[in-house]
């Protein structure tokens, strides 16, 4: 879309404020400044953060994060250690509630509902927003019980055998474990354990899947399997992934958010744009390895 078109739609938006048009404007405005006020994609927004600030005690971990995460795509968050990217991820399913010293301010909407409203039950929220952690953490239970865990605690019915098979297939693990479903999840290799954790997270069919450096503890082969898997999962789920690996973000994500030291979201845009032609000099320096 050219600059002229943008101006035209801008004018239209002024005369008759149409939210859809307005959103389109921001999302397609590639020539504008830092587009952190809106998502870079044309897809519908699932998670929308507005002025999120997080403190651990007196230390501010995130500063005024505002971003819209579009559905059924992979959104990567990159940045140096301690930049707050994992903290932001944990804001989405309120895992920061579990840390006594953490304090979150601002609004975060999941399909229009502010998850930080007083009436929101974090347990119910986490049932809609699945999470995969950095270190594979299967329960010391059988593979089958690991996958059905979410269904059991949510009292979800259904054919468990079928759901287990389906989830393990989607996690690209079924062929390797179909004959040992009763064996402990801890007997698997690291990469298999992580895929089991992914199967466990998707079994209750969440809307959003958060992944906190899911491949950083794995060897290259297992990493590439997980990456393929993430791209596939994005056809059905909204995937938000934190990674410190720039190549990984470039390979698998549709949008990339760059956090820099101090808990600041510096730039958020289509992955291609971030890696080829970022707006911010700091982002360019970071991506090309000049610092960070």
């Amino acid at each position: 879309m050219s600059q002229q078109n943008t101006n035209e739609s801008n004018a239209r938006a002024d005369s008759s404020p149409d939210p859809t048009d307005d959103e389109m404007l921001i999302q397609t405005d590639v020539s504008g400044s830092v587009s952190s006020s809106g998502g870079p994609s044309r897809r519908e927004t699932v998670v929308s953060a507005e002025n999120i600030n997080v403190w651990y005690g007196d230390d501010q971990a995130l500063q005024d994060i505002t971003m819209d995460i579009p559905e059924k795509s992979v959104t990567a968050m990159v940045g140096p250690s301690g930049c707050g990217k994992s903290t932001f991820l944990r804001c989405i399913n309120r895992m920061n509630d579990l840390i006594d010293s953490a304090r979150v301010e601002g609004d975060l909407y999941l399909r229009g509902k502010n998850v930080y409203d007083d009436d929101v039950d974090p347990v119910a929220l986490r049932r809609r927003v699945g999470m995969v952690f950095q270190k594979p953490n299967p329960f010391p239970k059988s593979i089958y019980e690991n996958v059905t865990y979410g269904l059991k605690i949510q009292d979800k019915g259904g054919d468990y055998d079928e759901i287990v098979e389906e989830s393990l297939k989607r996690a690209a693990l079924w062929d390797e474990v179909k004959d040992q479903l009763d064996e402990s999840g801890l007997d698997l290799s690291g990469g298999q354990q992580q895929r089991l954790c992914i199967a466990r997270a998707i079994a209750p069919d969440p809307e959003v899947l958060l992944m906190d450096e899911p491949a950083s503890a794995l060897d290259p082969v297992a990493t590439s399997q997980i990456e393929d898997l993430i791209e596939e999962l994005a056809q059905d789920y909204t995937v938000v992934i934190v990674t410190h690996n720039m190549q990984q973000a470039a390979r698998i994500s549709d949008q990339t958010a760059v956090f820099l030291t101090g808990g600041e979201l510096v730039e958020f845009d289509d992955t291609q744009k971030i890696f080829e032609n970022p707006e911010s000099q700091r982002v360019e320096d970071y991506i090309t390895g000049k610092f960070g």
């Binding site: 579990l98 347990v123 809609r128 329960f139 010391p140 605690i153 949510q154």
Partner: protein
């Protein structure tokens, strides 16, 4: 550095210097002391007990009164004066104390451990943990009096036919006594469960209850079982409280019949105290029965410890 100097420096033999040898010997002797003590006690128990039984006494060169091994192990009457040494009367009383105290201590101890490990705030923990330690530090004789003077009269208001000396009040007090042991060992096991697993649970939308009972307790099961067995070993070996509260009249009671708990009996440890306080003469049959009971007690606690080790090995999870 000349070659000579290098030669001297490299061949100093630091590992075998007198100081190293001396300290090594000292530490070895300290470690050996406990082993030597244990072996001595076992040897003493076995040789003295052997003098008690008809079947083994000749081997020990003992003449005079002896008792039948079969009667000892299968008899249900313990009457020293009439020469009846049926240890089952004492074993049944010990078994009742063990069962009764387990019924009290296991649920309360595990619940306390879950609270401490999963629910308690820093502040609640800082109050509760010292309180438990104090509970563990109360002299057992005080527990005995507590049972006799408070628990039994309190029970009598509900169950009038209860005896002054009864197994129920002794079991309750031993149960209270071992709660800290169950709680603290179980809590250690639960605290050792990696936080990753709790995070995984919460991330799936589990409630605190789901995480505590569905993830932490199963993952800590081997440690929790160990705490039961160690605490029950303590209940079996407990002496002072049961001597005061359970009575002094040995009788065989059915341990699984609740009505038995209203009567008094004589657990193994209390029987040994009674023997020692009585005017038994060294070398007599009654004196030797002391060692026979001691040996049975030792074998029971040893078996419990072996089971505990086995359970810990078998159910240990490598996270």
């Amino acid at each position: 550095m000349s070659t000579d100097e290098l030669e001297t420096d490299l061949t100093r033999q630091t590992e075998n210097s007198p100081r190293e040898l001396l300290t090594r010997t000292f530490f070895f002797l300290c470690a050996a002391l406990s082993i030597v003590t244990t072996i001595s006690i076992v040897v003493l128990l076995v040789t003295e007990a052997a003098k008690f039984f008809t079947i083994t006494a000749p081997l020990m060169g003992v003449t005079g009164e002896t008792a039948s091994l079969v009667d000892f192990l299968t008899g249900t009457t313990w009457q020293i004066n009439s020469g009846e040494f049926g240890v089952l009367a004492l074993v049944s009383a010990t078994l009742m104390i063990t069962i009764g105290s387990a019924v009290i201590a296991i649920p309360l101890g595990v619940a306390t451990a879950i609270y401490l490990s999963e629910y308690a705030s820093q502040r609640a923990r800082s109050v509760l943990k010292p309180a438990l330690e104090i509970l563990a530090g109360v002299p057992t004789v005080v527990y005995g009096f507590f049972a006799l003077i408070y628990i039994t009269p309190a029970l009598a208001t509900v169950i009038p036919q209860i005896g002054t000396f009864n197994m129920l009040s002794a079991s309750i007090v031993v149960g209270i006594m071992i709660i800290p042991m169950v709680a603290s060992i179980s809590e250690d096991a639960m605290s050792a469960v990696p936080d990753d697993l709790r995070q995984a649970g919460y991330g799936m939308g589990a409630t605190k209850f789901d995480v505590a009972t569905g993830i932490v307790v199963p993952a800590a099961l081997s440690g929790i079982f160990s705490s039961f067995i160690l605490a029950l070993s303590r209940a079996i070996g407990e002496t002072m409280a049961v001597t005061i509260a359970a009575g002094s009249r040995a009788q065989f009671l059915n341990p699984v019949n609740p009505a038995s708990f209203l009567e008094g009996s004589l657990p193994m440890t209390a029987a040994m105290v009674q023997l020692l306080l009585g005017d038994i003469t060294g070398g007599g049959l009654a004196y030797r029965s002391l060692f026979a009971i001691g040996l049975v007690l030792f074998v029971i606690t040893l078996v419990m410890n072996v089971i505990s080790d086995f359970v810990a090995q078998r159910y240990r999870e490598e996270y």
